[in-house]
């Protein structure tokens, strides 16, 4: 596999989103995905009578887990050790890369099969593994396609959502020995990937997966999948490494159920995914199979700093993707516009908190606060509210106010004095009505070109409501 090259992206959401709107392949892919997720989730939640209560329960479980996070992590660690596994702690992405590479090198690993792990993506694990001489082999179909394309996921549940079938076909044509086969049907593509990847499962030295939950009670990692690749990655190699983060803890198995009951339904509209697997430590003498070595690497990467902060609720996130599936901005511009492994509403909150680069300030601003994300989030994270707090933070920390901030401030100062506001607005409306003549609306307006570039603006009435109302009241007396 060739060196992974990720194209440098523009550090500006506006530029990226503009390009995304003009990218026909992307738009075709987004349109095909369309509202599918929305309808499937809706059907799944309506099939049972008390989904809202299940959401409340899931939220309580997440809050409880964070309330005593250190105890749960310590208990988890102890149980993993008792089951013959090891827990490693990484404060930063660099530390996580180092730890994983170290573990691979201890095993003299040449190849590592990989299940989907968003934390792995967060720390750029693939590039690091390659540089260290360990060949990462993605096995999730979507991730495999992206590895061939040298691209990042654009969705946390459906990583290759931005790719059309035709694009996948041509990637396979370039990278596989297809001969006469055309791969016309989705089934052909899936079978081709299955055949190529099957051998890798059997030969890999190390298997690396993520985890959806860590159950403190028994030191168990739970993984939720549909393809079966996660289990083949976790079970067949001698060594199983899990890359995950400290916030994934739940106290007990019953608590895990509370999360599972909302996760599949919110993500893909399945009441449960095909496979839900629970891994506890390494293979023991009683086990018929399983890895001899089991390692869990826990990433912090600023999560612990969010505890007790006004952003703590973001740590409730169970990575179901419902927020982006329901986000009209995400639907329009796709995940890559966010330039982060975490796109959509959850990413607009998480990226500025975990990465906090200058460009990330755009993300919480790129929302209409329509609130559809919050209305479907299974753990009821107030995503628009958190984005608003990030906007406050940006303004607080801004070195100098930009033009739009000044305009907002000026408007507010004026608004504080209703009488003055009324006089001034009345005066401006007079001016407008002098220039507007009989036109019912404008196609161009000074200072409002961003509006009139795409739409007309109606000509206002001759006077404001307030001045007309005053007249009317006078008339009444």
């Amino acid at each position: 596999m060739s060196q992974v090259q990720i194209q440098e992206t523009q550090p500006d959401f506006i530029i990226r989103s503009r390009a995304a709107l003009e990218d026909n392949h992307l738009q075709e892919a987004l349109e095909k995905a369309g509202s599918g997720f929305v309808y499937k989730r809706q059907a799944a939640t309506e099939r049972i009578g008390n989904f809202e209560q299940l959401r409340d329960q899931a939220r309580r479980v997440r809050a409880r887990a964070l309330q005593h996070l250190d105890l749960y992590l310590l208990h988890f660690e102890k149980k993993v050790q008792q089951a013959g596994g090891q827990v490693h702690w990484a404060e930063t992405p660099a530390q996580m890369r180092e730890l994983v590479i170290g573990l691979c090198q201890e095993q003299n690993a040449k190849t590592a099969t990989k299940g989907k792990s968003m934390v792995g993506e967060e720390v750029d694990l693939n590039e690091a593994l390659e540089a260290a001489g360990v060949e990462p082999q993605e096995t999730d179909l979507g991730e495999y396609v992206l590895q061939l394309a040298h691209e990042r996921p654009s969705h946390i549940v459906a990583p290759a959502l931005h790719k059309t079938k035709a694009q996948v076909q041509s990637l396979f044509r370039d990278n596989h020995a297809l001969g006469e086969r055309a791969l016309d049907e989705v089934a052909d593509i899936v079978n081709e990937a299955r055949a190529v990847i099957r051998d890798r499962f059997l030969q890999a030295d190390v298997g690396i997966t993520g985890a959806n939950m860590l159950i403190a009670e028994t030191g168990t990692a739970a993984i939720v999948t549909n393809e079966g690749n996660g289990d083949l990655t976790a079970t067949l190699p001698r060594t199983h490494i899990i890359t995950t983060s400290i916030d994934k803890i739940v106290p007990t198995w019953e608590d895990a159920s509370a999360i599972l009951r909302v996760l599949g339904r919110s993500a893909t509209g399945q009441d449960i995914t095909t496979y839900t697997s629970f891994f506890t430590g390494a293979r023991s003498q009683r086990d018929k199979d399983g890895p001899d070595q089991f390692h869990i690497v826990l990433l912090d990467n600023r999560r612990s700093e969010l505890l007790g902060s006004e952003y703590e609720e973001m740590l409730h996130c169970i990575r179901c993707g419902a927020c982006m599936n329901h986000c009209p901005v995400y639907q329009a511009v796709g995940g890559h516009s966010y330039n982060s492994v975490y796109p959509g509403p959850m990413g607009a909150v998480l990226t500025p908190l975990l990465r906090n680069e200058e460009q990330d300030n755009q993300l919480p601003n790129a929302s209409t606060f329509c609130g559809r994300c919050e209305s479907v989030c299974p753990v009821r994270i107030p995503l628009p509210g958190l984005m608003r707090k990030l906007r406050d933070r940006e303004q607080r920390e801004a070195k100098h106010a930009n033009a739009s901030t000044l305009a907002v401030k000026l408007f507010c100062r004026l608004s504080r004095h209703p009488a003055l506001y009324r006089k001034l607005t009345q005066f401006s409306l007079k001016l407008v009505s002098m220039v507007r003549g009989q036109k019912p609306r404008f196609k161009k307006l000074p200072l409002m070109s961003d509006w009139t570039q795409h739409r007309d603006f109606p000509a206002p009435d001759k006077g404001s409501f307030q001045s007309q109302w005053q007249q009317r009241q006078k008339g009444k007396k």
């Binding site: 995905a33 049972i48 009578g49 008390n50 299940l54 409340d56 329960q57 005593h68 996070l69 250190d70 105890l71 749960y72 310590l74 208990h75 990484a90 404060e91 730890l99 096995t139 999730d140 179909l141 396609v145 459906a158 990583p159 059309t164 079938k165 996948v168 989705v186 089934a187 899936v190 079978n191 299955r194 499962f201 028994t218 168990t220 549909n226 079966g228 690749n229 289990d231 083949l232 079970t235 067949l236 106290p251 007990t252 019953e254 159920s257 599972l260 009951r261 009441d271 449960i272 095909t274 496979y275 697997s277 629970f278 891994f279 506890t280 086990d287 018929k288 199979d289 399983g290 505890l307």
Partner: protein, 217 residues
């Protein structure tokens, strides 16, 4: 990286106010678990007859379900169903099936690693969960890999092992002497929707899943 560990835990403790040493972890965990036991909210789905719901949900999730009177009928069922296939079928048996000393005459059983075409796995589930039509298999009874490497997975489940909700399965699991390395939950055949969100049955795991419910084991 011990330092990272303590720095991370310190930062967390600043918020939780927790102070634990190696010896107090277990007791603190148990105390907390005791104080926080709450009744789980289970999905409202009119579940009165676990067997009926199990069958309904399993089918909805793409599994085929058949009812057999006794274990003895399993091999005959396999014979009948293998007859319809074009490739010769090799049967990969889980240890808990081999132990049942069934009549395998005329069936090609093997211990080799399952290779794509014609490989059927025959395993016995530990528990069935009606809530989602899910079967649970434990790696101390059946190698986990077998569940994923075969083309068609035939899962035998005793009627008495089918429970209503996930919590009931956890109770059965806690009753085991020790937790196995892997607990697998399987609900139907493997699938993917990674190409244009079209659901395609048969990804890396089995393309077909049959549940055989046995009345009297």
């Amino acid at each position: 990286m011990t330092d990272s560990r303590s720095r991370i835990l310190d930062r967390i403790a600043r918020h939780t106010g927790g102070e634990y040493d190696a010896d107090s972890i277990e007791a603190s965990f148990q105390a907390l678990a005791q104080s926080q036991t709450v009744n789980s909210v289970q999905p409202e789905m009119g579940l009165t007859d676990p067997i009926a719901t199990f069958i309904e949900e399993a089918r909805r999730n793409g599994a085929r379900v058949a009812n057999l009177k006794s274990m003895d009928q399993v091999t005959q069922w396999l014979r009948d169903n293998a007859r319809h296939t074009s490739t010769e079928v090799r049967f990969h048996l889980a240890p808990n099936i081999i132990d049942r000393s069934l009549d395998w005459s005329g069936l090609n059983t093997t211990e080799q690693t399952p290779a794509a075409a014609g490989s059927w796995g025959v395993v016995q589930a530990h528990t069935g969960i009606a809530e989602t039509g899910t079967v649970m298999s434990l790696s101390n009874e059946c190698p986990s890999g077998l569940l994923f490497l075969v083309e068609r997975l035939v899962i035998v489940i005793a009627r008495k092992d089918i429970v209503g909700y996930q919590e009931d399965a956890w109770q059965r699991l806690r009753a085991c002497s020790a937790l196995p390395r892997t607990v697998n939950w399987i609900t139907g055949p493997s699938r993917t929707a990674d190409i244009e969100q079209q659901i395609q049955i048969g990804a890396h795991g089995p393309r077909e899943a049959d549940y055989l419910i046995i009345d009297s084991p």
